[in-house]
């Protein structure tokens, strides 16, 4: 899978994102690094922030499209 469908899922889940990036770490289309910075994440623990990302990407995570996911989130803008 290319990074674009993942980016669209994240943009839908985090419309307020000030930083949003998806990187294919290996070029193989299944190991991704996701970076999200959004005011809507402010005040949440890292566990809750990462849960929001997992929820946004539950379809590609569930069907095995994403083999490995690294997440970096921030609450501030």
């Amino acid at each position: 899978m290319s990074t674009q469908p993942l980016r669209e899922l994240l943009e839908r889940a985090f419309p307020d994102a000030t930083e949003l990036d998806v990187v294919d770490r290996t070029g193989g289309g299944d190991h991704f690094q996701v970076i999200v910075t959004a005011p809507s994440l402010a005040g949440l623990s890292l566990v809750e922030q990462h849960r929001r990302v997992y929820e946004a990407l539950s379809a590609p995570l569930g069907d095995g499209t994403i083999h490995e996911l690294r997440i970096k989130t921030k609450g501030a803008s």
Partner: protein, 119 residues
């Protein structure tokens, strides 16, 4: 058979529980290794559980914790996160602070590492 009770016993009964692919002496996944190394740097007394022997362990763990990926780290029964979070908290010093807070100032004295096999 169900692993749920055994998984809950480890989560609730361990100072630091690490659910991982492989064991500390034979790690089978880069992310499990990242979490283990971060915990070691913080001096955490780790109780490690290998989830690979049966896919059901992973499924039941996910429904208990609500966390979809491996590894998973718990301190005193509370989910701290996966490899990315544990690494980030170790680097910022927050992991050591949490361990001191929950386990006491001398938490690193024992430095013991336990491996639990479910089954």
């Amino acid at each position: 058979m169900s692993y749920t009770d055994k998984i809950k016993d480890v989560i609730e009964g361990s100072d630091v529980a690490l659910f991982m692919k492989g064991t500390p002496s034979f790690v089978m996944c880069g992310n499990s290794d990242r979490a283990l190394q971060a915990l070691r740097r913080a001096g955490a007394p780790v109780t490690a559980v290998d989830i690979l022997p049966d896919p059901q362990i992973r499924q039941e763990l996910a429904s208990i914790s609500g966390w979809p990926t491996i590894p998973q780290v718990f301190v005193k029964g509370e989910l701290v996160g996966g490899a990315d979070i544990v690494e980030e908290l170790e680097q910022s010093g927050e992991l050591a602070a949490t361990l001191r807070d929950k386990l006491g100032d001398d938490y690193a004295a024992a430095r013991d590492e336990t491996t639990v096999t479910l089954g």
